[in-house]
């Protein structure tokens, strides 16, 4: 609990690094909300699946943690699509609360299934990237955080590119902005929902592989990261892609600066405080001008 400049700088650096990953985690959620107006409470648990998958690929098969992206991303894509088909699609027209309850149910299932299968142990991996640090003045940045940060930015840019320049991307955005109008342009809206859910989940595959080398896995890891994703998404404006990225960085900074200057886990109160204030006073998020 010191307020010296090096401590602050260190916190800013770490905050930005983890903020990039928060952004990537949240972008999937904001995409799903933006397109079909469903809040996926199982989002954090999807990430947990990705983390366990990456963990076992690294520990059981000796695959390089960053190469697991090639597996975690498509697997999460299909996990998303599968769950969408079985459970979300049938209730797309139901009241929003039923959808929330359903995804809460899915999150309970996944969380406790993980508990049953893998026990409550907190797992982490040591890789050949672990322990490599870089010093910038007094600030220490680990290689794994650095890779996660730039990896997240790359993945975000790639997704942004897809949404902006491809027909599929335009379908998804069109369906998000006005599903009826999209239908009237010949867009199969349900198919774009399916794609958006798949892509939103696939982001978590990337995030999981990037996180694993410096984070941990446990059945409840998704509980906290899922909530963080909600905070980021609300901060950025629900459905706002760019907002989610900025929001991710801000929450990363809040968490890490808060931890540097506040005792214990009190910084979490700050994070949730921001969340609550935004929900009340600026539900449209930091970037949007219009009312949500």
């Amino acid at each position: 609990m010191t307020f010296s400049l090096p401590v602050i700088l260190q916190a800013v650096a770490s905050g930005l690094m983890i903020g990039g990953v928060f952004a990537l985690i949240s972008i999937g959620l904001t995409l799903i909300w933006g397109v079909m107006k469903i809040i996926n409470f199982a989002h954090g648990e999807f990430l947990m699946i990705g983390l366990y998958l990456a963990y076992f690929l690294v520990t059981k098969f000796g695959i390089d943690p960053y190469l697991t992206i090639l597996i975690t991303t498509p697997v999460l894509f299909f996990v998303g699509i599968g769950i969408f088909q079985v459970s979300i699609k049938p209730i797309l027209k139901h009241p929003p609360m039923n959808q929330i309850m359903l995804t809460l149910g899915i999150s309970l299932i996944l969380q406790n299934l993980a508990l049953v299968l893998f026990k409550a142990d907190v797992l982490s991996v040591r890789t050949r990237y672990t322990g490599i640090n870089y010093h910038f003045g007094g600030v220490v940045v680990t290689l794994t955080e650095l890779i996660a940060f730039f990896g997240s930015i790359l993945a975000t840019l790639a997704l942004y590119y897809i949404l902006k320049t491809t027909d599929i991307g335009r379908w998804i955005r069109a369906a998000a902005q006005n599903p009826t109008a999209a239908t009237l342009q010949g867009v199969d809206v349900r198919f774009t929902y399916l794609l958006a859910f798949g892509i939103g989940s696939a982001c978590l595959g990337v995030a999981a592989s990037l996180l694993l080398p410096f984070y941990y896995v446990s059945p409840t890891v998704g509980l906290f990261l899922g909530l963080i994703a909600f905070v980021v998404v609300v901060l950025g404006g629900m459905g706002n892609f760019l907002g989610a990225f900025v929001g991710g960085l801000i929450i990363g900074l809040t968490e890490s600066l808060g931890a540097a200057i506040m005792p214990g886990s009190l910084s979490r109160v700050l994070t949730f405080g921001i969340f609550i204030l935004f929900l009340l006073f600026r539900p449209q998020g930091i970037l949007s001008r219009r009312q949500a």
């Binding site: 139901h94 149910g105 409550a120 609300v234 609550i276």
Partner: protein, 339 residues
């Protein structure tokens, strides 16, 4: 005669609970424990149901009020020796204040549906971290109720029997409250707000005030449940009484049993709690979380196949031979194809 008619609606709950009062004659200690658990969750779900079921505002943060009730009475007992019989009312008062502020803030700014759910979940999660860092409240370790053996004055008993009757009585009161709402102006206004806020407002219902009052009533009742919870388990911890998982459990039984119905929460708890408890007892050592797995599965099943819960399903089966309302079609519906 007229008086009689007015109170006849309370007859069924009174008879049901009077019969339930004989249960201890037939139950072994372990089953008494399960009966108490059923009643705790039925009580909490009934309290939640007033806001979530009747008024249609789905709070995902009722752990906040449960925690306030649990912590207030426990802290006052530990620190000042205050009897929980009084502490329970202090907790309820604090919950009323919290409920008013939460209700005012959320509803004044027009939070609905998903946004209301998110803000309530954020509040209760924030409470977890506040309490975890609050030394006087025992921090992350929580507070233990000092064991005194049987001390009725301090709401402590060696036997399960008194606990059973206390929570039975509380649940009876909660069910009577729900039953009372069913046929009173305030209750009708809650339903009007749930069904169509705009129309309710146009018909003279102060929707903001109604929702805030519902939140306060629901919070106060939930807090009392928190005090009992603390006394029964003789322990309170931040994650145990606050937090997302508890909040979800509180509303689970109302949703599965039947939202906005008098008996739904109780039916939900009676059916689910024993199964979950047996699962926990039988499988708990190998499979932690087996009961939550079950809850999750039932929740998903309910949403997919009987979104109106068990009581709702029973009602519609009964109505099936009359008329089935078909899905309304709407141009504004997101996509074209017939579903």
């Amino acid at each position: 005669m007229k008086q009689m008619k007015q109170y006849r609606e309370f007859l069924v709950p009174l008879v049901v609970f009077a019969l339930a009062a004989f249960l201890p004659l037939f139950l072994k200690t372990y089953y008494m424990h399960i009966a108490i658990l059923i009643l705790i969750w039925a009580y909490l779900a009934t309290s939640w149901n007033i806001l979530g079921g009747y008024a249609g505002q789905h709070s995902l943060g009722h752990g906040l009020y449960m925690g306030i009730g649990a912590y207030a009475s426990t802290y006052l007992a530990l620190e000042f020796g205050l009897t929980p019989w009084v502490g329970i009312f202090v907790g309820m008062a604090f919950a009323a204040i919290a409920g008013w502020f939460v209700g005012y803030a959320a509803f004044r700014y027009g939070l609905k549906g998903a946004y209301f759910a998110l803000v309530t979940i954020a509040l209760t999660e924030a409470a977890v971290y506040v309490v975890s860092n609050w030394k006087a409240m025992g921090g992350a370790a929580g507070l233990e109720v000092k064991y005194l053996g049987t001390d009725p004055f301090m709401m402590q008993f060696d036997s399960k029997l008194p606990y059973f009757y206390i929570i039975l009585f509380m649940t009876l009161l909660a069910v009577l409250t729900a039953q009372w709402l069913n046929r009173r102006r305030f209750g009708y206004r809650l339903i009007a707000v749930r069904e169509n806020e705009e129309a309710a407002e146009a018909m003279g219902v102060n929707t903001l005030g109604t929702k805030i009052n519902a939140n306060v009533l629901s919070a106060v009742m939930t807090a009392a449940g928190g005090t009992f919870f603390a006394q029964y388990f003789t322990y309170v911890g931040p994650r145990v009484v606050f937090g997302e998982v508890v909040s979800v459990q509180i509303l689970l039984f109302a949703i599965i049993g039947g939202l906005g119905t008098v008996w739904g929460p109780l039916v939900g708890a009676v059916i689910l709690v024993p199964v979950a408890e047996i699962a926990r007892a039988e499988l708990g050592t190998q499979f932690q979380g087996a009961h939550l797995l079950l809850y999750g599965g039932v929740l998903v099943f309910t949403m997919l196949f009987m979104p109106n819960g068990i009581v709702g399903l029973a009602k519609s089966i009964r109505a099936r031979f009359g008329k089935t309302p078909d899905d309304t079609m709407s141009v504004s519906a997101s996509e074209g194809g017939a579903s």
